[in-house]
Amino acid sequence: MAAARCWKLVSRGRGLSLHTAAEAASTATESTSTDVATTPVARYPPIVASLTAKSKAARLRRVERWQATVHAAQSVDEKLRILTKMQFMKYMVYPQTFALNADRWYQGFTKTVYLSGLPSPPVEPEAPLDLGALRDAACDSLLQEHFYLRRRRRAPLREEPETVVSPFLDQLVVALMGLLSPQNPVLASASVDFKRPVHFYWLRGEEIIPGGHRKYDKPNNQIRIPKQLPEFVPLDYSVPVEIPVMKCKPDKLPLFKRQYENSIFIGSKTADPCCYGHTQFHLLPDKLKREKLLKQNRADQIEVVFRANAIASLFAWTGAQAMYQGFWSEADVTRPFVSQGVITDGKYFSFFCYQLNTLALTAQADQNNPRKNVCWGTQSKPLYETIEGNNVKGFNDDVLLQMVHFLLNKPREDRPQVLES
């Protein structure tokens, strides 16, 4: 009768079928009665935390289950959907911000190391550049927008970036791409976006101050190519420079929280074959002008504005490119993603290169992650001094050369000579 009693208890409690309950009961009675050493195979299901309890363990288990669905997703679109479908209150990060010392904050958010000076170009251009033609093209675009073109309404000064500088940048990018495409064939198959938004959403933070960040950015132009640019430094390159750690909440920056759609977008959807980025061109708005900052006695923030814009925009762009390839914070990148950026306010240009080495920025993934993202950058230099009538005075060839070098950067397969030598 004891065995029968055990059997009934087991069947009611566990809800197992008749056969397995009988087996379990019989083995239990056998083991207790015979006192043999432990059986080699576990007969009980693993003991795990509950799924629905209000406890940290249950929450961890739910998070793991969600991460398992992301790992198991078949296509990139599905992965992105699962990662972004839950909306929480998150900080909105604006690359073009008036906040003081925003670049240090953004370095902390994106785990980026900033190095001044650009990385050495991997290869010198093979054919000599026709600098005269390039300079003429740049001057023509400049003069057309500033002087020659008679517009219907003369735009007020505060709208000058959109009405004058933005078309000039568009013209410049298109003209330079056209002139340089014989030397860099990837430019001929590249796709140029004009003012397409770039979105990125990432989680960074400790348990005490959890925070997702969402970045919304509209670069003036961006060039996307079908193949990836080569890396500047190896993936696990460790830079001795420290990343600034901010001791305050991000709200102090100021950063504000909103809750609405999360999205990840590089400028075009996942189906586009041109899914890797080449160069972005950003235009600083009127309220972040140099003259304004100088009048407010904030001359040191001029460079900060450029750097903050570059770090945030390029991190988001490379991060979104990596997510389009299926990487995310639990599945870190296996190859570095590289992009270049040019930030300008119409006269002053500064150049940045960004290499994304890691996407694992969540508290859980960052515990043993030695990799850091790297951003190289220059100070801002003027392209010209003044424009008087139909003359450009003081044209600076170095700035133009730097832009040309940026545009001549090619994916690795197009450089057979380098591999051989």
């Binding site: 008679r150 219907r152 002139l179 495409s181 001929a188 189906a271 139909n390």
Partner: protein, 501 residues
Amino acid sequence: MAASGYSSRGTLIGMALASRPAQRAFLGSGQLGFGACGIPRREAYEWGVRSTRKPEPPPLDRVYEIPGLEPITYAGKMHFVPGLARPVFPPWDRGWKHPRYHRSPPIHEQPLYKEEPCYIFHQRCRLLEGVKQALWLTKTKLIEGLPEKVSSLVDEQQNHIENQDERVLNIISHARLWHSMEDIPKRETYCPIIVDSLLQLCKSQILKYPSVARRICAKNHSLSAAWTRESVLLQVRGTSGIRLSAKDPLPPIASREEVEATRNHVLETFYPISPTIDLQECHVYDLKDDTGFQEGYPYPYPHTLYLMETADLQPHRFHPEQLRAKMILFAFGSALAQARLLYGDSKVLEQPIVVQSVGTDGRVFQFLVLQLNTTDLASNEGIKNLVWVDSDQLLYRHFWCRPVIKKKVVVNLITAPGMLLWSVGHHFVLQRQPCHPTHHPTLDLPAFIPAAPPQLPVLFSEAFWPIPALPCVREPVGPVDFQPETFRKFLALYLHGCPEP
């Protein structure tokens, strides 16, 4: 419509546009009515809803109507007095010009007022008679199809870009679907993206045609050209689309003999409709010829004008006929302004000026080449200008942003002895067939296996039970009926004028 002013700076005073949809499209969303903005528009005070109308000013006292009488008012008392007349004050003058509170003087007092009206064609003018009217206004003869020189460029194999079709298909998909986060992007975004991307693709031919580098695009330029046709003053003004300018002029297309032969051509009239219908009549205007660029511009010759119809709603967009008329007039305006600049006025040109134009709404393309032979446009006789038009070229017939999935369900029900109702999807067929009762092999039930109905094939032999559907994708995502010829013509028009490699 009341006459409105058009000053030399090109600002439109008053709102006397021809048609309501054009007016709405022109004004945009800022004037949607008081519900949208909260404050009634100024016009609402004059004619609008009674609840928002400003109260009528009280009528003047009778004493003002009697001449010779000096009315005694309470102006000096600084407050109302019952027996005295209401004072009439002169309108308050601020003393300086405030940009926000500028009231234009009445039309007759404006400095540029002229008795003779001028009919202005701007970018939202929809001509009633379309191309016929445009031809009359510009004294032009129409030739269907693109000219020989351009057609030969279309067919030449060496002009083709590698993977041309694949790249154009990518451009179409990018513009129609990929570039934005929305499920179905709107025409306002995808139309300019298609034109920009196609131009970018054409520009990549710089390897074979280095003179492509001697061109530049410009947006937001403002054109103005004026001429007389049979003692009617006409003007073209406006800014529209992208203008591709070049350092070298396009060579003339028609030979001298063909130009001379146009003397015999008679322009088609459309009496009783006046040729100036749908043009904006102005009494305040400035007659000037302005190419849109200052002197000394390094790219002085207009090469091609790209006009885009980007309105989302179909009534706001131009019809193809109206778009072609607009293209003719704007191309003619650019050519005329250029000719006046180079050669002066009113003569037959030794070197005819050629300007091209491409008009599109993102899917249908219109191509046009105009050759200006003469600036002597006052009379109907003499040499005419020539225009070659290739109309309604589809780049693709349709674009599916989402896949079209149809579920096919094969259901076979017995309705009456000897009658069968077949249904596949939404199609039903009632059939009377002699059926042979047999036994269902597995389920031990009688089954009827009829012969197949005439239209539908027998898909399943056990045709008794409804069989669940498998969704099948009838149309995948992407363009439908892509025509590569259209892009070849686009490329040919772009490369026209480049010397042979």
